[in-house]
Symmetry: D2
Subunit: 338 residues, 4 copies
C-alpha cells in the first residue's frame, strides 16, 4: 500500500517507521502544517513532504491515509480521505462529537473503505493474550474492571494543543481515558451507565481536567472504575478484569510505562494465591501489530479491531461521562445524545 | 486496665491476645452468645467466660469494654458500657445508622469516656509513616486518592452474619470499604460528595453487594476512587495518594494481604522514576498499635485517632454512597441525613 | 507423644508452641541452663522447668527430645537421649565433627529410634512444592543451583554463642549455609567437590566468618554457588535451581525474610518469558510441617526428611568447604575426612 | 569524527546507529567478511560497504575504528588501526591472551591513541549512578559482591562463532562473565584470587562451557561470586555490592533483561528494611553513553572508563579462573601469567 500521513507530531513519529519497515508498504508523503519539515525529519522516512493535506489524500496513487492530527481535524480529514476512496487509520479519540463520528462512519460505509480508530492498546501483546484467554473462557463472566492510567505531565503543558479546548477532545480523562473505555467495552461489553468526577489538580494555567475518574456499569451488570491522570508523577498503566472464574491484570506498556506484564489467576478457595505471569520485554510492539490488523481488515474486507464503530462508542461514553459530571447524575450511555 | 470483650468471633481472637500480652492490662471476661465457650477457647486467654453482656459491662472492677459483635449490636452495647462509665473500643463500622452513631457519641460525651472506633488500618505502620510524611508536607496538597481493597470470599459466605442484612451494616462496600473511607478522610479531609455503584457479582445466594465502587470529591477538591470487593480472588490492599509535590502508595497489610510496603516518591519532571520503599515484614502490628492509642487517649483524656466522631462520619459517607446509587445521583455528604 | 525440650533460646521459642498446639502431643519439660526460667517463660507452655538435662532425657514417660542448644552440646545430648530410647529432633548443624555425627547415627541405629536434623527449610511450603514438581520431572536434569542467604547482624553479636568458636559449629557460612547445603543435596544429589572463600567483613570483634561463599559440583555434574552472609543489611533468602527443561526460584521464608514465593518456568526458546508464581502469605509454617514429618517418621518407622544421615553429609560438606579454603584448593567431598 | 566499523553482526547493529545519530560523527564504512552486504543492511546507515578491513583502517580520512568482530581477530585489527593512528573501540573481551592484550596496549601507547574496551555495562545508567554513590561513600568499604548473569541460549547455538573455540575467547563464563569481572574490578578494586567451576549443562553439541561460576577475593579482602549462564531460561542480569555502611543492587539492562533498576539501602540495625529504587525505563542507553565516553577520552587525551588496561586485567582474571578450574586450586590473579 502507498500511505500518506497527516500530521508531523509524536504519533507520526511512532507510526511512520512501522510503514517504512513494512515490506509491502510505502510511505509516500507526510503532510505537516509547517511550510517546511523540521530539519532531518523527512530524511529518516525517505518520503515527500507536503503542506496540502487535501491534495495528499486525493493522490491517485495512494491507498491509505493515517490521520495523526489533533482531534478537531480528525473528522474533516478522515471524511475527505474516505470520500477519495482511501482507507483511513485515524488517531484516537476518533473525533469530538457524535455528529462527527456518525458522519465518519457514514463516509466509510458509503465508500466501502476501512475506517480504523487508533486504539493501539488493543494491540499490545498482553492485551491480545488476555483477550485470547478471555475468549476461551478462562475468566468466566466478568464481574468488575479497573484501569489506572497515569502519566507525569510536563512543564509548559499549558502551551500544547492537548491543553487547548479548541483542538483537544477533552482533558486527560478523554485523552488517555478513551483507551480504557475502549478496553472496558472490549472485555465487559456494552457500557450502560456512567458517573464521573474530574478536576484540575496541578496544571492550573489551562482549563481542561488533568484528572478524571469514572464508574461504569455494563449492560451485563459488571462494574468498572477508571482513573486517568496527568499528575501521576510515576507513569502507570494498570488494567484489571476479574470474572467469576478468574482474573487478569496488565501492568506496563513498555517504554516509559515499564515492562509490559500480564498476570492471570483462577478463583480457588483453597489453594495459596498464584498467578501465571508473562513478561513482554523489549520495545512497544503495538504499533506494528495495529498496522498489521489495519491491513488485514483491508485485505479481508472486514471491520478491524477497534474500528470506526468502536471509536464512536468510546466517544459516546466519554461525552456521557462529562455529562454525568455536569449534571451530578448517573447517565445512561447506550442512547446518550448530548 | 481490666477489660471485658463482647463477642467470641474473629475480631476477639485478633484483639484479645493484645490485651493478654499488655503488661498493665488484664482481660477479665469474654462474653459470648453461646451458653459455654468453644472448647479450648477461654483457656488461651486465662479469663472468665460470660453469657450476659449487660452484667459484664457493668462490672464494678472493669475499666474498658471491647465490642466485637456484629454491627446491629454495636450501639446498644457501647452505650450501655459508656453509661456504666467504661471506655469503649467498638469494632467498625461504628454502627448502622446516623441516629445510633449520634447516640453513641452523646453517651461518650456525657460519661466523659473514650469511644474509639476499630479503625485499625490507621495503625498499620505503613499508614502511620505515610501520615507522618504527609504532615511534614512531603506530598503537598492532595490531588487524588485510590483504594483497591479486595478479598477472596468463601464457600458458605451466604450463611455468615456478614451476609445477613439484619445484622451487617451493608455489603462488602460498607464492610471493608469503611476502612478506605476513613483513610480518605484522614488524608484528604472532609469528603464533600459521592457517587456509587454496587453489584452482586458472584455470591448470588444472598442479597448484599459483594462489589462496590465509589467516587468521592473532598471539600478541598481532591478526587478519590474506591473499589471494595469480595470477589478479589487474590487478596489485595492498595491505598494511594498523589499530591502536588509527591505521592505514596501502600500495598499489603501483612498476613493474607502480603508484606506491608510503603512507597513514596516526589514530583520530578526531569529525573528517572524513583521510589523510596519501606517494607514492614512479619506479622500485622496494627492491633497492638491501636490498643496503645486507645490507652494513650484514655490516659491523656483526649479523642483517639479514629474516634467516635470519625466513626460517625464514615457511617455518614457510607450511607450517602448507598443513597447515591439508589438515587442515580451524586450525593452531597457533608450534611447528608438519610 | 510426651516431649522434652533442651534449651531455652530462640529455637525452643519457635518449636515448643508447635508441640503445645499439637493435639496428641504434650510438652512436659523444658530444660534450661539457668536455675530458674525467665519470668513468664514457662507459663505460656504450661510445662515443667528443669535444669538437669540428663534427668529429663531419661524420664520414663518421655517419648521424644528436642535438642535446641548450641552445637557443641548436640552430640552428647542427642546420644544420651537416643540411648534412653527417645526419638530425637536435633537442631542444625547436626554437630561439629564427623566423629560426633557418626556416633549420633550409630546411637540411633542401635536404639532403633528416629534421629532428625532440624532442617526446617525442607519443610517450607515453597520448597516442598518445588520438590514435588522436581520429582515429577518439571525441571529435567539439574544444571545449576544458587543460594543467596543473608541476614542483617546485630549490635553485640560478638557476645552471642554464635560468635563463640567453642560453642558454634563455624561462622555464618556454616550456621545459615548448612540449610543451603542440605537443599543443594536434596535437589542436586551428592555433592562431589567444593571450593570456598570466607571473610570477616564487619563483625571484627569476633573471629568467625561473617561471610562465606562456596562453589559445589555435584556427582552428576551440576554446579552450585552459595553465599551466606551476616552483613546482608536487608534479609534475603533466595534459592534457585535451573534444569534442562525448566527452573524454579524461591524467595522469602515468611517473617523477616518477606512473603515466601515460588516461581517456576520452562525452557522455551520462542515464547515470551513467563513464570508461574505461588505465594505463601502469612506466617512461617515450616515448624509445624517439620514436626508432622518427625512424627510421621516415628509412626512409620522410617528415616525422616532431613534425617541424621543428611545432617552428617551436610556437616561433611561444610567441613570440606572450610578445608578447601584452608588449603587453597578444590576439595573432594564424598570421602572427605578432616 | 569519521568512523569505520569492522564486523557486520549484532554489535555493529547496536553500535553503528549511535554513530549515525551522533551530530558530529560520520560512519563512513562498514567492513564485513561477506563480498556484499546483507540486503538493506547498509542503506540504514548511509555508509559504504567494504570487504578489506586493512584498507579501511588505514583510510586517511578516518579517525576511529570500532572492532566488532569475534575475539580471535581483535588484537590484529586493533593493532593495525592503532598503528595507522586511529582511536580504537574494541569489543569485549579485549582479546584471547595476555600477549595479545599487552601488544594492543603497547600499540596504543606508542601511537598515543585511545584504546577502549567495549565494556558497555559500565555505561548503563544504574551502574553509573551506583558508582557515583559509591564514590561519595554511601556504601562504605565493600564486603562482598555478587553477579548473576544469565541468558536463554538458542537452538543452533553450536553453529555460532561463540561456540567455536577457534574464534571465541572462552565459553559463556568468559563471554558474558567478563562484564561482571570488569564491574567487580571497578567496585572492589584489584582482584587477588579466584576459584572456578564450569560445565556444559545443555549445549552438548559444542565444547565450550555454557555455565561458569567463580569466587573472587579482592586485594582488600572483599569476596565476590559470579555465575554466568547460557541456560538461564529467563534472562537475568543482577549485580550486587554490599559494603560496611550500605548496599546496592542492579537488576535488568533494559530490552530482553527487563527494566533496569537500581536499589540502594543503608545498614540500619533498628529501622524496617528500606530501599531507594530508581528505574531506568525505556531502551538501553549504554551504547550512547559509552560512545560519549570514548569521544571524551579522545578529546581530553586520557584513559577512558573501561580502557585497554581494564580490558587486559579482565582477560587476566578470566584466564586465571579457567586455570583455577584446570588445576583444582585457588589461583593468585595479580601476577598470573598462563
Amino acid at each position: 500500500m502507498k500511505v500518506v500521513f497527516i500530521g508531523s507530531g509524536l504519533q507520526t513519529r511512532r507510526r511512520a517507521p512501522v510503514v517504512v519497515q513494512s515490506p509491502d508498504d510505502e510511505l509516500v508523503e507526510i503532510v505537516g502544517s509547517e511550510e517546511a519539515p523540521p530539519k532531518g525529519f523527512i530524511e529518516q522516512y525517505g518520503c515527500a513532504w507536503g503542506s496540502d493535506w487535501r491534495a495528499a489524500v486525493t493522490r491517485a496513487d495512494v491507498d491509505a491515509v493515517a490521520v495523526c492530527t489533533p482531534p478537531h481535524l480528525h473528522a474533516e480529514m478522515s471524511i475527505a480521505a474516505l470520500e477519495a476512496g482511501k482507507h483511513v487509520l485515524c488517531e484516537k479519540p476518533l473525533c469530538r462529537t457524535l455528529e462527527e463520528a456518525e458522519a465518519m462512519l457514514a463516509a466509510a460505509r458509503k465508500a466501502k473503505r476501512v475506517l480504523k480508530c487508533g486504539f493501539n492498546h488493543r494491540h499490545h501483546p498482553a492485551v491480545l493474550e488476555a483477550r485470547r484467554r478471555f475468549e476461551q473462557g478462562d475468566f468466566g463472566r466478568p464481574i468488575a474492571g479497573r484501569c489506572r492510567y497515569g502519566i507525569c505531565g510536563r512543564p509548559g503543558y499549558e502551551n500544547e494543543w492537548r491543553a487547548d479546548p479548541a483542538r483537544a477532545a477533552g482533558g486527560q480523562f478523554a485523552e488517555q481515558g478513551v483507551h480504557a473505555i475502549d478496553l472496558f467495552r472490549w472485555f465487559l461489553g456494552d457500557l450502560a451507565e456512567v458517573s464521573c468526577m474530574t478536576s484540575i489538580g496541578y496544571f492550573h494555567k489551562q482549563t481542561l481536567d488533568d484528572n478524571g475518574m469514572a464508574l461504569f456499569r455494563s449492560a451485563d451488570g459488571a462494574l468498572a472504575s477508571l482513573h486517568s491522570s496527568l499528575t501521576h508523577w510515576k507513569n502507570l498503566f494498570s488494567f484489571e478484569i476479574m470474572g467469576e472464574d478468574g482474573y487478569f491484570s496488565i501492568e506496563g506498556l513498555g517504554a516509559s510505562y515499564g515492562t509490559e506484564r500480564l498476570s492471570v489467576g483462577k478463583r480457588d478457595f483453597s489453594a495459596p494465591f498464584q498467578d501465571h505471569v508473562i513478561e513482554y520485554r523489549g520495545g512497544d510492539s503495538s504499533w506494528q501489530s495495529e498496522w498489521r490488523e489495519f491491513k488485514a481488515a483491508i485485505a479481508e474486507n472486514r471491520e478491524p479491531l477497534g474500528g470506526g464503530a468502536d471509536g464512536l462508542e468510546a466517544v459516546r461514553a466519554t461525552l456521557a461521562a462529562y455529562n454525568a459530571e455536569a449534571t451530578g447524575s448517573v447517565v445512561q450511555i447506550r442512547n446518550f445524545k448530548p
